[in-house]
């Protein structure tokens, strides 16, 4: 049974705690928490297989597209999900779809842990109040920055470490035993389809129902031009240009509507008579 070494488990656990405490690079942890990509990269570096880790993480990312935390809480924690699922997949030499089967439940559990962090911070807030009364700036700073970070580390490091050091090999073996059965075909189908979740979430989050036409346009473009292997960057540029044209035309119409008053309909051809 392959397993993670003590140090590998510890480093990944420390990374997760750093991200979850929101302290590592401060606001930069926003994307470290919403997207599993960087966590997957760290796992890859720690386990010596960056390429393998990235491929698996990409599959996990596709499910979690569009995910962020309005109000501060999320239904799932993608970073924690990746921290467990990617090592499991690498240990067991599993396909990305199998990793998703591990990622989803772990992500849900991780969300509960994150909320527990708020609970601890609520108590630490009392220390802030006392320090404010005394106008002791360094004590205030400690209670706002240092203590919550220590609390987060104490909460996350042991749990993630145990999950990795003891749990990961077990899960990997279980999934490996299912290889060749219809379960794997099911996992493949599910994995391929779940990417739709992330995409639909992002579309919904962006709002703007009328602009769905642009989604449909791009979808059919990518299907039709699939053999041309157009890169994402090229598509991004194309998308920006199309969006810019649209915004320019809209602005132009608005300006004209404002300056000319009531619309003159004489300009329009009446095509009804052309038979």
């Amino acid at each position: 049974m392959e397993t993670l070494t003590f140090w590998q488990s510890l480093i990944i656990a420390l990374w997760v705690a750093a991200v979850m405490s929101r302290a590592f690079l401060g606001g930069a942890t926003l994307t470290l928490r919403f997207s599993p990509l960087m966590t997957g990269l760290v796992v890859g570096i720690v386990m010596g297989d960056v390429a393998g880790a990235m491929v698996i993480t990409a599959a996990i990312q596709l499910i979690y597209m569009g995910v962020f935390s309005p109000g501060g809480t999320m239904p799932s924690e993608p970073a924690i999900a990746a921290a467990i699922a990617v090592p499991v997949a690498l240990l067991g030499n599993l396909k990305p779809e199998a990793a998703i089967a591990v990622a989803v439940p772990v992500g849900l559990l991780g969300a509960y842990l994150y909320q527990f962090r708020f609970f601890i911070n609520t108590f630490l807030g009392k220390l802030t109040d006392k320090a404010v009364e005394k106008l002791n700036d360094s004590e205030i700073s400690r209670s706002i920055v240092l203590y919550p970070v220590i609390a987060s580390f104490t909460l996350f490091v042991p749990l993630v470490f145990i999950a990795l050091y003891f749990g990961a090999p077990v899960i990997a073996d279980v999934i490996k035993a299912l290889e060749g059965t219809v379960v794997i075909h099911i996992l493949e189908v599910v994995g391929g389809g779940l990417a739709a979740i992330g995409i639909a979430t992002t579309i919904y989050v962006i709002g703007r129902r009328e602009y769905i036409v642009f989604f449909l346009l791009a979808f059919f473009m990518s299907v039709i031009f699939a053999s041309l292997k157009i890169t994402m960057v090229t598509y991004a540029i194309l998308g920006t240009l199309i969006a810019a044209i649209f915004v320019l035309v809209k602005r132009d119409i608005n300006n004209r509507a404002v300056s000319t008053g009531p619309m003159e309909t004489n300009d329009f051809d009446d095509d009804d008579d052309d038979f």
Binding site: R22, A23, G26, G27, T31, L32, F34, S35, L37, M38, G44, V50, M54, V55, A58, L62, M65, G66, F68, P70, G72, L108, F118, N121, T122, G125, V132, E133, D137, I144, P148, I186, V189, V190, G193, L194, A196, A200, T201, T202, I203, Y204, V205, I206, G207, F214, F215, L216, L217, F220, M221, S222, A226, V233, A236, G239, I242, A243, V247, R251
Partner: protein, 293 residues
């Protein structure tokens, strides 16, 4: 500094040592960067992110309020319930609070009637934090972050570390820059900070980003949603391959149906991601087990 205060006669001590200092753009930027760092570290249930706002404002408040009592009151003012998004909300409000506290400090020092009351300051903050959070979350985290990620996914899929580093570095840098921008805007415009949202320039940028975001989602859907039917059967000697038939009607029909299906689910039930995830898994698993997919 305290020592020079002791030697001066009391009248001079009141005038020069209690005068609020001028708050500069550099002070505001520094306050924003403190907020940007602390952000959600002390996140708690009772006052959410207020502690981070206080921590951000501390240097500025120290510059404005030289008297212990007014300083303590200012600290407590900034410790009231506060929850908003990092850049749009945090940026504008950090700048706005700096501007308002400066005005309040001036009123207190000159012993004028206090027009910049505690209530006014808190209500303005409370009113803005919700709206800015909504806008900021959906533009920054919901759209821009995912445009960067969408671009990087192919790199990740081919095993490159760039797939992770690119979106992280781009988005993290963007957030610092935009946050600083908003902080300065909030400070400059003061109570009129809301006019920033209504400017057509910002509206056009938001429009463009939304369209681009949707466009990128379409490309992703076409490339990465893999749903195809493995159903083949023979009927009176002729072979029927369902997937080929579907392809001849409209390529990409099944993936599109799945994406639009989930989207329709959201419009009916709200953004219940976990539920959609479980339902879709169930439906796909059953169809796969039966052999249709």
């Amino acid at each position: 500094m305290k020592d020079t205060g002791k030697n001066l006669p009391t009248a001079e001590k009141n005038d020069s040592n209690l005068e609020p200092e001028q708050i500069t753009n550099k002070d505001v930027s520094k306050a924003y960067l403190r907020w940007h760092f602390a952000n959600e570290i002390p996140h708690s249930f009772d006052r959410y992110l207020a502690a981070s706002l206080l921590w951000a404002m501390m240097p500025i408040l120290r510059k404005l309020y030289k008297d212990d009592d007014t300083l303590r009151a200012a600290y407590k003012r900034q410790l009231l319930f506060f929850n908003t998004q990092l850049t749009w909300g945090g940026g504008i409000i950090t700048g706005l609070m700096s501007s308002m506290e400066q005005e309040r400090a001036r009123e207190e020092y000159n012993q004028e009637e206090i027009k910049m009351t505690d209530d006014l300051m808190y209500n303005t903050k409370a009113g803005l934090m919700g709206a800015l959070a909504g806008i900021g979350d959906s533009i920054d985290s919901g759209t821009i972050q995912y445009i960067f990620i969408a671009i990087a996914i192919p790199w990740a899929q081919s095993g490159s570390a760039l797939g992770a580093l690119f979106p992280f570095i781009c988005f993290a840098s963007y957030q610092v820059l935009i946050g600083l921008f908003f902080a300065r805007q909030g400070f400059m415009r003061g109570r009129n900070a809301t006019t920033l949202m209504q400017s057509s320039g910002i509206q056009n940028v938001i429009d463009l980003l939304s369209i681009l975001g949707l466009f990128m989602m379409g490309i992703l859907a076409g490339n990465y949603v893999k749903v195809s039917s493995s159903l083949k059967f023979e009927l009176s000697g002729r072979e029927f391959n369902i997937q080929e038939t579907l392809n001849s009607i409209l390529p990409g029909m099944l993936p599109l149906a799945v994406v639009l299906g989930v989207y329709w689910y959201y419009t009916k039930k709200g953004l219940k991601v976990t539920q959609a995830l479980l339902w879709l898994t169930l439906i796909l698993a059953v169809l796969a087990a039966v052999g249709i997919l």
